[in-house]
Structures are given as C-alpha cells and as structure tokens.
C-alpha cells in the first residue's frame, strides 16, 4: 500500500528537486519584491508602511497552513501508523516556525508607525505568540526523543493541542474587540484590498510557499539520508 513511500525512490526526487525549486523561488521572489516594493501604490492612509504587509500577511498565511498540515499528517499518520508522515511533518516544521516569527516581527514593525505601539496583548497577537510557542515545543519534542516512535506520539499530542489555537488566531479579530484589524482578503466575500495591492500580495505568498517547499525538501532529504545510513531500505 505504501510502496510509493519507499525512501529510495523518493530520495531520487528530494535530492534533485531543491535546485529547481530554488531557481523558481528566486524568480518568483524577485517579481514579488519588485511588485511589492516598487510598482505597487502606496496606501491612502498608511502610505509606504503598507509595504510591510507584503511580508507580514504571506508569512502568517503560510505558518497557519503549515501548522494545519503538520497536524493533519500527524493525526492520520498516528491513526494508521504511517511513519513517513512523521518525517514529513518534522521536515515541514522549521519553515513554519521561521514564518511565525517573521509574522510577529513584521507586525511589530508595522504596529509602531500605525498603531503607535510595538506590542499589544490583544487576542490576535497573543494567540499568534502561542503558535510560535507550539512550533518551538514541537521542534524540541522532535529533538529530545531519539526514538522516533516516541517522538511521533508526543509530537502528535502537541499538534492536537496546538490545532485548537488555529481557528482562534483566524477568528480572534471577529469574535472579540482587538487592536488588529479584521481580514482584508476574503475568499467567499468581497476583499477590502485594492487589486493593485492584492496581486503583489499573492505573488509574495507564492514565493514564501516555494521557500517553505525548498526548506522542506532539504530537511526531508536529510531524514532520508539518516534512514539510509541506518541501513534500512524502507521505513
């Protein structure tokens, strides 16, 4: 059933793909940055500080997406005992962690000129900080336990605890009064962001997604090499 996951075949892909993903990432990132930093207009109210948004929002989206994927893979992998899913989750986590911090830091830099404060303990920002902590716990759990089975079990529990936080982050701005503004980009209703700003935002999101894919492939490749070195030809 899981023949597809045979490390040797996957290894052929993961050892070659990063090169191409890297090239694609650089191309998309340069287009995105040109659009975001030079071609896109300034905002009528925040003027040029709107450009921070082109890093902040994609980073936040990607980090939420990665945590959800990690949780999904961990739970399915735990129920059906698919060890490979653990390796995928483990390799996804570092870039998610980096982007969660990116979102917080860029948000802070944007907050100072816009709100007048670096930090506010409102629901959105606090729940985002909790996500950073969950990523950190997850990464530490993967390191502490030498035994992969044990690490898999405990990290699955960490993701189950952490996933409750994801809808809280998403809807905190609608459920409670927060300093953070509600979402501007909506899939099911009209977005309150002008198209000239939405397009660079989407390009930057694609670039960040490619960056995550790149880091993931490299991490996953390392995991496969570790398995090879143990002399096992399958998981």
């Amino acid at each position: 059933m899981f023949k597809f996951f045979e490390p040797n075949k996957i290894f052929l892909i993961t050892s070659r793909a990063p090169k191409y993903v890297l090239i694609l990432f650089i191309i998309i990132l340069s287009i995105g940055l040109t659009e975001a930093l030079i071609l896109s207009p300034e905002d009528y109210k925040q003027s040029h500080s709107v450009r921070i948004m082109y890093v902040h929002v994609p980073a936040a989206w990607i980090t939420l997406g990665i945590f959800s994927s990690i949780t999904f893979l961990s739970i399915v992998g735990y129920i059906f005992k698919i060890k490979n899913f653990f390796l995928i989750s483990k390799s996804l986590a570092p870039s998610g962690f980096v982007f969660s911090i990116t979102a917080l830091v860029t948000g802070s830099i944007w907050g100072k000129p816009t709100w007048g404060t670096w930090w506010a303990w409102d629901a959105r920002i606090t729940s985002m900080l909790i996500l950073v902590l969950f990523y950190l716990i997850y990464l530490i759990v993967c390191r502490i336990y030498e035994n992969d089975d044990k690490a898999f079990k405990i990290s699955t529990i960490v993701t189950i605890l952490g996933i409750i936080n994801i809808p809280i982050i998403k809807y905190s701005v609608e459920w409670w009064n927060t300093l953070h503004q509600p979402a501007s980009v909506n899939i099911f209703s009209n977005s309150s962001i002008h198209n000239s700003m939405l397009i660079p935002l989407l390009i930057m999101t694609a670039a960040f997604a490619l960056f995550s894919a790149l880091i993931f492939l490299m991490k996953y490749n390392t995991e496969l090499i570790k398995i090879k070195n143990k002399g096992l030809d399958r998981l």
């Binding site: 905002d43 009528y44 109210k45 303990w121 189950i160 605890l161 409670w176 300093l179 002008h194």
Partner: protein, 139 residues
C-alpha cells in the same frame, strides 16, 4: 476494513479533540471580558461601577470633535450609539484622525469622561491607493 487498533486510535484522537475544543470554548467564554482588548462606549455606559483600574475604550473618533488645547487634546469616541469624552496630553500616532478608529488607554472619571494615558490608532481592513480613495470620495 481497518483493524480494531486503528479504530481505537481514531476515537482516541477524536475524543481528545472534542474535549479540548469544549474546554477551551468554556474557558474563553468565561474570560470574555478579559479577552477583549477594549470596551466600546456603550459597554462603558452599562458598567455597574467605575473601577480604579486602567481600562481601554475603543471606537471611532467623532467627526469635528478633536479640540487641541495648549497642554491637552480633547476628542469624542463614539460607536454611533453612545459617546465618551476623552482628554489626553501627549503625542498621538500619525494615523489618529477624525472618523477613524482609536483605542484609548487610561482611567474613567465617570461614564462620560475618560482620562487617557495612551492613545493607539486602530487601522481598518481597507487598503487602497490614494487615487482610488479620491475617486471614491467624489462619488
């Protein structure tokens, strides 16, 4: 079909998730007053008593209400139902203007007067270039 162990693990995860969601929901529900970052003028109006603790009031800066005096700035926060008068001395953020969102941190003197120690501008979710804004206003 799937083995008994698989089913057991499935229900194990499902039960943990349901239990967690319910408990987090209960905790957040009971802490609602503390989770909100600021209160609206209408919520201030129905307060049972005026505490000595620092609170935050948020809403829109009422049009034509900003009054700049020698040492202080006065304005009115409104949520279009109720209003509260705010006095503040200090620098305001760049985005603080009439008709836009604001959060004031400070102390209530009574239900109509608020002495702010800090002013934060609240940004809304609208992003557009200045030309589009100008075109919208012409309509």
């Amino acid at each position: 079909m799937y083995g008994r162990k698989v089913k057991l693990r499935f229900f194990f995860v499902l039960l943990i998730l349901i239990t967690l969601i319910l408990s987090i929901y209960l905790i957040l529900k009971s802490l609602e007053d503390n989770v909100v970052y600021f209160q609206s003028p209408s919520e201030i109006k129905v307060l049972a008593e005026i505490g000595k603790k620092k609170i935050r009031v948020g809403g829109m800066v009422k049009n034509n209400s900003i009054l700049i005096e020698a040492k202080s700035i006065k304005f009115v926060i409104t949520d279009f139902k109720n209003e509260i008068n705010v006095t503040y001395s200090g620098a305001v953020p760049n985005l603080f203007t009439e008709g836009k969102g604001v959060v004031a941190e400070g102390f209530l003197k009574d239900k109509n007067f608020f002495l702010a120690t800090k002013i934060l501008a609240k940004h809304d979710e609208n992003y557009m270039p200045p030309e589009v804004k100008a075109a919208l206003e012409e309509k």
